[in-house]
């Protein structure tokens, strides 16, 4: 093995969007690791200017086909914050419920179809289904259960049409929600089985001392709202985001890199939430985590697949609880009238916090928009992981090292379409 190598992945597979990875090894040391994002920019923040406040949930959904709810909800919250209304009670429950649906479909897609094949040595889930048909079929059924929630509450799985500022266009009947129940119960138990199956995988020994950032609420595992906290002392309200975090534009990426001012990279997503909010997980999720030996903290990003399974248990249980206490509200949305103002909103997308800010005038016309997606926040951690991880694994040949590094990027379930503002891997050993 030469001490100078280049590991290149020109088009990273099993991620959403277009990116590359380039790792440069000189004199037996990793000199540089770059996640190159070449997803073409689509300029959402620019063309939102001049559009109407009511259009934002539908337009921003198109940032991402995998997590449209994260955009619809963050945009709605920001607009409601600007206008000075809040959506509580049953309508908040329904928002929480459809978000659980998105977590389930997105996590199941990533766990079974995008990430598990790496651990088991398959190119994809279809190949994996040859040897593990029951696992893949279970995964598809879990994914479908999440999508059924999306369909009922949102109208369809991708780019739901039923969400608006203030709530919904129409709400389901008690009976319609009750019909989801058997599959949700099955899904919760299947997710516990999934966690057991995944706990038997071989995880690379790799831990780092990350700064985790997530939303936090004392009374629930925060998805919709809360305060932004970290394990190193950040504790701020959602509108204060810009005081603590900044975005940098680097030449190798059409996605902006987010960092904590003066401190650097931070990690968002399932591991951050789990480490900061373990106490708030639903009981079956906590029990499943402890029974598979995960512990209350997890600093190995390769185990994020296991954390996602635990979050699926949580999402199913939360969905069941909401279904059980639901009674049809009199109105599908709270009345909202535009007024000039600035508002921010932040929710926990499956991949981590997704922050929005809009300024509107009295007629509800958008003056400015800013959206910080989770993947742009994780880019720093992804590159640093590669510096360390590749460094520990230089004994591997190029093909093996490349695959392991790809797996290391997929730990983050990067959504590059979202962040472009994408992925392609090269290891350069000179």
């Amino acid at each position: 093995m030469t001490s100078n190598r280049t590991i290149k992945v020109d088009y990273l597979a099993r991620v959403e969007g277009e990116g590359a990875l380039h790792i440069k090894i000189r004199n037996g040391k990793v000199q540089d690791a770059k996640l190159k994002i070449f997803e073409p920019p689509r300029f959402f923040e620019a063309f939102l200017r001049g559009r109407q406040w009511t259009e934002v949930p539908d337009i921003t959904a198109r940032i991402c086909g995998i997590c449209p709810i994260a955009y619809q909800m963050g945009a709605s919250h920001a607009m409601e914050n600007a206008i000075g209304v809040s959506v509580d009670g049953v309508l908040r429950d329904l928002r929480h419920l459809i978000y659980c649906g998105e977590w389930i479909e997105s996590h199941a897609l990533h766990v079974f179809m995008l990430h598990a094949p790496d651990f088991l040595g398959y190119q994809d889930a279809v190949q994996m289904a040859g040897d593990h048909p029951d696992v893949v079929k279970m995964g598809l059924r879990i994914k479908k259960a999440g999508n059924e929630i999306m369909k009922l509450l949102g109208g369809r799985e991708i780019h739901p049409i039923n969400l608006r500022i203030g709530g919904f266009y129409s709400v389901p009947t008690k009976q319609e929600l009750k019909e989801l129940r058997p599959e949700l119960e099955w899904g919760r138990d299947a997710s516990i089985e999934t966690a057991k199956f995944l706990s038997g995988l071989e995880f690379p020994h790799f831990e780092r001392d990350y700064e985790y950032v997530a939303l936090h609420r004392p009374d629930e595992y925060a998805i919709l709202d809360g305060r932004l906290i970290s394990n190193r002392g950040i504790d701020i309200a959602i509108p204060e985001f810009e005081g603590t975090f900044e975005e940098l534009h680097v030449p190798h990426s059409t996605s902006l890199h987010a960092r904590i001012k003066a401190r650097g990279s931070y990690l968002v997503g399932p591991m951050a939430r789990y480490n900061l909010n373990f106490a708030q997980l639903a009981d079956p999720a906590k029990e499943a985590a402890l029974s598979v030996g995960l512990g209350e903290t997890c600093n190995n990003p390769f185990k994020s697949i296991l954390v996602r399974a635990i979050e699926m248990v949580h999402a199913f249980q939360t969905a069941l609880d909401i279904v059980d206490r639901y009674s049809e509200p009199a109105e599908a949305a709270v009345p909202v009238k535009p007024r000039a103002g600035v508002g921010a909103g932040c929710t926990e997308a499956p991949r981590g916090i997704c922050w929005h800010k809009y300024e509107i005038d009295n007629s509800g016309t958008i003056k400015s928009a800013r959206i910080v997606p989770p993947t742009s926040q994780n880019q720093g951690c992804m590159e640093e992981d590669m510096l360390h991880f590749a460094g520990q694994n230089l004994h591997l040949d190029d093909d093996e090292l490349q695959w392991k590094c790809e797996q290391g990027i997929r730990n983050y379930d990067p959504c590059i379409s979202c962040s472009c503002h994408f992925l392609n891997l090269t290891v350069d050993r000179g």
């Binding site: 099993r14 959402f44 923040e45 259009e55 994809d124 279809v126 598809l140 991708i158 695959w403």
Partner: protein, 269 residues
Amino acid sequence: MSKSQKAEGPKRPKLAVFKFASCDGCQLSLLDCEDELLDVTGAVELAYFPEATRATLAGPYDLTLVEGSITTPHDAERIHAIRRQSKYLVTIGACATAGGIQSLRNYANVNSFIDIVYAHPEYIDTLRTSTPISDHVPVDFELNGCPINKYQLLELISALLNGRKPNIVPHSVCMECKRRGTVCVMVSHGVACLGPVTHAGCNALCPSYSRGCFGCYGPKETPNTNSISARFEALGLPPEETVRLFRSFNAGATEFHNASLAAEHSKPK
């Protein structure tokens, strides 16, 4: 033995999925066929589909699905290479078929857009416009929708692999409402609805949720946009609202583009 391992059987047609500027939602529609996915992959070989697999097979491909619009000089070149490798090339979704929501740049100065989003405009290499695939290469079939309907995608794959025409009707969302018995939101509630001019395929989703159609499936065959614009005016909709309705996910579709310009020019009235 599973279908995925049928290496010894008859050669399966090669399916490729390519992405341009898009949200990934339309190609996700294939993975969202939870009940049918393993049957599909039993019938076709996933020769190129990076969102789902690391494995890649060289072309030519029997069926190529293209998602996304052309927005960079590199992509304007790449689509030609893909066309040369493809027996059938089908666009999936509003971006590939009409330019997508990102074609709103076509109505503005893209340099000012870059300045708004990026600190270093010099790092960004982008075209002035977002254009559909058919502006660049011949396309064999176009699937409408933002996103596409996954059952239409299954029908399309099945039809093309069996050498028949896909059974995908070009009539309006309005017809779908009548068929499912949804009360007209425009007639009974005065809600502006693009259903009469919008391509069917969603099964009239929005009206069934008590909202007007916002045209995410693009124009139907021979839409009467003048008539619907006049109706919107009679409902008291300001012309700029009509412009915005036509100018969204399918802004670049010829009929919607022309209708938005007509509404814009009607402003001084």
